[in-house]
Every structure is written in C-alpha cells, then in structure tokens.
Subunit: 412 residues, 2 copies
Amino acid sequence: MKRIALLGYGTVGSGVYEVVEKNIDSVQSKFGVDLSIEDILVRNKDKYADLPHADKFKTSFDEIMASKPDIVVEVMGGLSPAYDYIKACIENGVHVVTANKDLIAEHGQELQNLAVQKDVALLFEASVGGGIPVLKPLQECLGGNSIDSITAVINGTTNFILSKMYNESMGYEEALKIAQDVGFAEADPTSDVQGFDAVRKLAILSSLAYGQEFKWSDMPTIGITDIDSDDIECVKTMDSKIKLLAYSEYINNELYAAVRPVVVSNSDPIALIDNEFNAVILTGDSVGEVMFIGKGAGKLPTASAVFGDILDIIQNKKEKSFIELRRDATIHKLWPKSSKWMIRLVGGDKNKLIQLLLSQFAGSELRIQTSGHDNQIHAVVQSDNEAELLGKLSSLDKSTEVDQIKYFLVYR
Amino acid sequence: MKRIALLGYGTVGSGVYEVVEKNIDSVQSKFGVDLSIEDILVRNKDKYADLPHADKFKTSFDEIMASKPDIVVEVMGGLSPAYDYIKACIENGVHVVTANKDLIAEHGQELQNLAVQKDVALLFEASVGGGIPVLKPLQECLGGNSIDSITAVINGTTNFILSKMYNESMGYEEALKIAQDVGFAEADPTSDVQGFDAVRKLAILSSLAYGQEFKWSDMPTIGITDIDSDDIECVKTMDSKIKLLAYSEYINNELYAAVRPVVVSNSDPIALIDNEFNAVILTGDSVGEVMFIGKGAGKLPTASAVFGDILDIIQNKKEKSFIELRRDATIHKLWPKSSKWMIRLVGGDKNKLIQLLLSQFAGSELRIQTSGHDNQIHAVVQSDNEAELLGKLSSLDKSTEVDQIKYFLVYR
C-alpha cells in the first residue's frame, strides 16, 4: 500500500485526485501496489463537504503527517508554506512530488541535496512544461549528451496573449483580458507577463541540463507588457511572429540565459507553437535537436506529469536531479553572438529616421521597411553582439528626431 | 564495473562505442560505476586492425559470452542471428539493449516475457524514432494516461524522398537515387519505401501504448513507390503535402492501425517534419496531444538512445515494457471514420471525368480541380468511411473513361 497525501486541492490538485483514482486498478495489476489518496490538505474543508471523499479533507499539516503518508504531492504553489511542508516531508523520510516551479527554482538544489541525504525522492516533472515529458527525457534518455542549448516557449499565458494579438490584431490589454476570462491568466498576471514564470522554468531546465545550479534572478528577463500592436504589425511585414523565448546556450564556456520576446520566422517550427501550447527544444551533442510539444499547463495535463512521478516512486526509482557541477559558468547578460535584430524607431520625419539609421549601421546588412505611419520605421540590422547594438542605439537615442527605440533579437 | 559487449560495429555500433567512451568519466562520477566496452562482435576483425581498440574485436559470439558481459548491446540489425544471440544473453542473465526494430516488432513480446522471467532488462528505446525519447516518455511519464491515438512520421528515408519530390519537384526515382547517394537509403530500399520499417515501429509503439501485442503484419501497409510527380503537383494546389503516416487509433473499441501516404495541410505541424526528421504524436486522455520531434536515425542520435538505456541498466531500472493486456482489439483494415479523401482520375476527357465523379459523389462535399493535363482531374471528396469510398471508386473504375484511380486519405 502506498499512501498519498495531497497538499492543495485547486485546479491541479483536483486533477491529480482524478488521475490517481482512475489508475488505482491498473497500478494494482501492473505493479501489485495499492495506491490510495488518504488525506488532502486545504484551508477550508467546508468547501468540499458535499464531495463523496469529503472525509479526506484536513486543515492541519501536522495531522496529515501524523497519518504517515508514503508520498506527499504538493500542488499548493508559492513558496510559503510549501517550502516548510516539503522540507518537513523530506526530513521525515516521505517522498515528495511537486508541480511548484517557484519553489524548485528557488530552493531546488537545497531540497534535492536533503532528499539525497534522507534517501527519498523529490520529483518535479510537472514544474516545467506541464504535461509534456521534459525533465525525465532530458536527464535519462539524453543522459549521454552534453546539452548545448535550450530553446523554449514555456509560458502558456504569454503565448496565448501573443497569439491573440497576432491572429486577431488585438491590443495587449484586450488580449490579456480574454486570457483572464478563459482562465489562462491570473487576476494578477505579473508573474506570467513579466517573464518570471518562464525564467524560473528556464533556470530549472538549465540547472539540470548543464549540471550546475543557476539562479533565475541572474537571468535577464523581459516580459511582454511593452509589446504593442505596432510591434506585431511590423513583424507581420517580415512574415514573422513575436514569441516570448526562454533561451540558454553555452557560448565560449559561458552561459547566455534569458527570457525575452524575439522575432521568429513563420517558417520556424517555433512559430507554430500557438495559444496555450508549450515547446522545449534541447540540443545535445549526440542527438542533435529534439523538440517536445504539448500543453504546458491545465488540470489534467499537469496531473498527468505528477502521476508519472508517482509511478517512479512506486517503482522505487530515485533520480539524481540537479546533478553535480560539470561546468562552472557565469551568465552573460547580453546576447554575445552575431545576430540580426529588428529595430523600431518612432519619432520625427520618416526620412530623417532612415538617414540616422544608415549613419549608425552603414556597414551592416540593413533592411528598412516603412509602415503606414509617417513618424516611424522598422528595420532589420546585423550586429556582432548585443553590446555593440546597444552602443549604436544609444547614439541614435541622442538625436532629437528619435522619441522611442524598441529592439528585438531575430531568432535564428 | 559494468562490462559491455557490442554485437555489431556498423554505423550505429561505432556511434555507441564513441558515446560510451565519451561518458565513462561522467558515469563514474555520477553513479560510481566503471563502464567498459570489453568486446565487439564483428564478422571480419581484420577490417578493424588499425583501430586503437583493435584488440576488442572478436568473431565468435561464444567467446564474447565466455567473458561474461553485464550488458550486451545488439546493433547488428536483422532477425538472424540477432534473435538467437539476444535470447542466449537473456537466458544467461545478461541485460540487453537493442536498436533492432525488426527483431522487437517480430519477437518483442516473447523476449520481454523471457527477460521478466530471468529478471534482466531488455530495452529498445532506439528501435523507434532513433534518438528521440519516445518509448520511455510513453511508458513512464504518460503512464497515467489511456493512449487514444498515435500519429507518426517515423521513417526518415521516405520522408527525405517525399521532401525532395515536393521541395525540388523531383520524380520518385531521382529522389530515391539522391537518398541513396547521401546515405539515407539502403542499396535495397524495399523495407523503407514499401513502409515495412514504419509499420514495424508502429507495431512496437502501438503494443506499448495500448498494452496489447499487435503484429505489424496485421497492419495495412502502403509505401511511397506509387507516388509520382503528378500526385505531388495535385497536393500542392491544395496547399498540402504528402506524408507517409504511421497511424493508430482506438475507434469504437477497435484499433485502426496502418502505414499509408496521406495528404497533410501545410498548416499542420506534421507538414513541417521534413527530410530525415521524425515526429511522434501521442494523444492521451489526460495530457492531450504531445509531440516529439528529432532525428529518427543516424550514428550518434541512435547511439544517444542506446546510451540512455545503458544508463537505466546501470541504475538497475527495469521497465515493464509490453505491459499486460488491457484491451482486446482487432485491427481495422480500412479507415473506419468519416473523412475527406483526395482522388485522382486519369483517363479520357476531363469533362467526362468530372461528370462521372459528380454522379458518384453527388451528395458529398466536393472540390474538383483540373490541372494542366487534359486527361486528368483531382478532387477532394467526403466519405463516411473507406469501405464506402472504395465502393464508389470501384463503380468509377468500370467506366471506359477511367484509366487510373488514385486516392489518399486527407489527414484531419
């Protein structure tokens, strides 16, 4: 008998309950193990009084620990009290499965070390990419590879908003409102739209992929709040889209890792990842590029990943996650490679803006497009790296003709 | 110390050697295990006399077994003598990793049962999708799902040929020749171009996904040898491509499973899977659609998958593959659902062909396009199922106006 306790019974928690209940018979027949959800921790158990399993709801964590669960599934989210609860579980020899990316990005290494010491499992497949199998394929199937880069569209909320803005020519605020109405965005969308959710997932992925603990707060993070309809119109003329990309790559033994909106050609597979879908591309030295696509959030997809972790624990498989240091690298704050950039200049007379641009990017491969507006242009320029680009943009910014400059990395 | 013996040293075998050697230190530091390739079975060891590891090459399987390997990696391909060797390994308590889809599709269930009985691992991630992690994500990460369908582009050779025919307007023979020149097709391409390679992989995937042993020889299999430039031109007018699809789905408690060329819209992600790339889409009741993309063959991608299996064995993880019977289903020979089909008629006068088509598909949603040719038309028709379609096509075939009829399922 494996006794499971759920911490939290929101969207994901109720999904986990459903998926576990549905699989009790098959787990029994396949592994000879009786699986049972014994307790569910919630704040207010009266809310669930009408459910057939109302007796499982508890409001005290101590009470739940007293009934000695084998596995605790943490699906409350947030750092507190989730951190204390998970730590207590590990210290008491209880296996933990969590979907909590905030917690793993913040305390993953420490909790993982504790779990190794206490010989229990701490698994968190659902924390990155929701239902998409990513962490296990990365750590196990691709274990013979050195990972060179990670490219991911890994926040469904921002991807949904950007898809709406692109496909239905909406403004940001209108698209955000719809995302909130259909449940893809929280009432307070800060963590998603500012890129914090994506960068936490990128930090988890990067730490596992490169065998080194990376802090999400060291990674430059730009969200989508400054993207407007004009940006979208500009990239449409380039047969491209804007995607919020979570990207990390080893370049000259240093890591570039950032979340930022980038311009992606419509002929790139990443451009097809629309709405609530997520995609993770891993590049390994043996396997080349492998791409995983699916729903990155939601009740049952997330529960599917949590259940995969439970199956690992049932079969007594403990992964070494956050593996030991393989490389020691700092994080580049600026894109260090030669690349194309889309630049938008808003200001005075179109022709003067063009002259200014030509003066700064004289030697560069330059493609200038003027839109319907008289006072703005957009261009694709080539630059050796982001620092060089910023130097030139800063010169442009000094001109009285220029009111606003926006720039986006053009992704491969 | 884990002693590995390689059976075979072709493209994949030499790749496995390379990947194992590269990872010896990291395996030691991560798992405290010394990994060593001790023996390599080949037919003619003189061929390898100049290699630094020339002393490892042996020509006798008995000699290799006498030195008591812990893990045998079978990368010879084919049924004989691979089957006898693998069986002997399992019976002698030696773990086996294989990339041999022919063997697993033919004898997987039997060998798996023997492996369970002898308490050894038989792992074959590389047999489907080359380097792409598919079998482990399916069996472990998605273990809480009932799989509803599998959609796969899973033969790189045919995908390369179809890509060449489409992108460079080549004929089949010319594209095949190029595939052979660049090493994507064998001198005898039968197994690939007739769809046998793909259907064997589909049988392995389907058996694991639906928990029942399916024989590849029960699955209707159509290759790409009959596809000509005119077919390609026709689908281009529909903004679509032809892809060789390996597909299985539970429909009304029966399985439809087949390999066949289908028409795929260019807006479908599957249309982006070009050249030697493979894709596998799994639909689960909890997770929805997840898609895995990568290189389905080649030296190092395949070696990457083999090495992932070796890591599992090092960590003493034995999967229950070919899990026990969950459903008992026969295989539909014909597409059982309402669908669109592309039909090509070649024969007499275009207008008479149109009249014939209208007479048979009067009630159907019908889209007829005439190409540059005077004696042929193509159309998209709607039909309740393939049997109904075949009935109507058989009536058309009786007309003296019709010389040739071709038809393709239009995929979703």
